[in-house]
Subunit: 245 residues, 2 copies
């Protein structure tokens, strides 16, 4: 189970998030497109937890969650109509525990301080986790939101449980049935489906962005197992090959 | 239900604690002996929650918790052998809810960033709340500790429940049986018992500090109801009067 910070701005918040991870026994951190000087500052701060030095740094969210089978976005619902299923934080632990037991890998994604995760970020998430806050002051500080989420999960899941079979996203042959396809596989499926849409002239250029977004969301809703994702991928590759002949 | 910060140092932490209170619907804050310039800075910060402006400021912990019937210390157990009953945070809510239902008033006390609550601070607390953290990094950031505690309590208690009868600590006559004596009353009892100890030459001067500490702790352990506290007070006042004749 890992934590992903998308474009964090304040080095103190990065440090606070990392400290909360250390407090609750989580060690896998990925940071997406951080502001470089602040990221360096946070990593070199006195007393920075070790996990900061070992954090993965990526340009996009999709790389940060590659290999994850359950991607959880966080945020408040005050100014947004969610496009995916919403889970209140107190109800989250059983879902996470079940995914880990099934051999899956879970990512908890936090957005930047100012505005939180964008609609595009959230389209990579199967569920949106809502921290129940007061309607008069719903928006939490980043470090505190991380602390509250990890506190809730720490006692009920194994923070650093490794997937039972960690053989990479595309070698599904010997995996148990029922394990969810990971984020990288879903992106692969989305890419091929999109190519098919184009090849079939299904998707006019002006609709391409919107269709891509909706497709991503739908794949998360469907949450196909690894075998099913492989089947879907095979089918669409075949269709694409046919269309392009 | 209120929050007490003892000698907070960092204005960012004060602000973060206040923000977490606003996030989870708590509004009563007291700050004990803050470092003045930082306290002013925290209160005047842009976007500081209203509750900071309305916070009570006291010189000592005993004034901050005056009127409270259940005083909860927070901290880690790593470097200390607790002198009072320890409750893990996930088990705290029912105790707080019961106290509030009974018409009591609850204070959650946080120590300074560096070392947490002192042994003396803790002697005012009936229970020590332990946030279950990783043994390798047990000590939490102040703002995050406040956030985690209030998150845990917010969904299970009424943050701003007022005591059913808020008539001050010393007018017990018409109060329901079973309500716990508040912190101010317990201090009053402790003071009179101490005078009796001295008058009876029970307590040599060198032992006075230690005896005061143990007495305070014992009164918290006993947690007498309001009527019982009044009875104890009456008895010891009578003894004192006798001894001093």
């Amino acid at each position: 189970m890992g934590v992903v910070l998308v474009s964090p701005r304040n080095p103190l918040n990065i440090g606070a998030a990392a400290r909360a991870m250390a407090n609750f026994g989580f060690s896998r951190l990925a940071v997406v497109a951080p502001y470089e000087p602040h990221w360096r500052e946070a990593r070199s701060a006195v007393g920075a937890p070790e996990l900061l030095a070992e954090a993965k740094q990526t340009q996009g969210l999709s790389e940060a969650i590659a290999g994850c089978t359950l991607v959880l976005g966080t945020g408040t619902l005050t100014h947004r109509k969610p496009e995916q299923r919403v889970v209140r934080l107190p109800d989250l632990a059983p879902l996470v525990a079940a995914e880990l037991e099934r051999g899956g890998s879970v990512a908890l994604v936090f957005g930047p301080e100012k505005h939180g995760l964008t609609r595009d970020d959230l389209s990579y998430c199967r569920l949106l986790v809502e921290i129940p806050t007061d309607v008069r002051q719903p928006s939490m500080n980043l470090g505190q939101a991380v602390a509250v989420c990890l506190y809730e999960l720490a006692s009920r899941v194994q923070p650093d449980a490794q997937p039972a079979t960690d053989i990479g996203p595309l070698q599904h042959g010997n995996l148990a049935d029922g394990a969810a396809a990971d984020a990288e596989t879903l992106e692969l499926v989305a890419g091929v489906v999109e190519q098919v849409m184009e090849a079939a002239h299904y998707s006019p250029a002006t609709m391409r962005e919107a269709n891509r977004h909706d497709l991503r969301l739908m794949l998360r809703r469907l949450a196909p197992g690894r075998k099913d994702a492989r089947r879907i991928l095979g089918l669409f590759r075949r269709i694409l090959w046919r269309l392009q002949r």
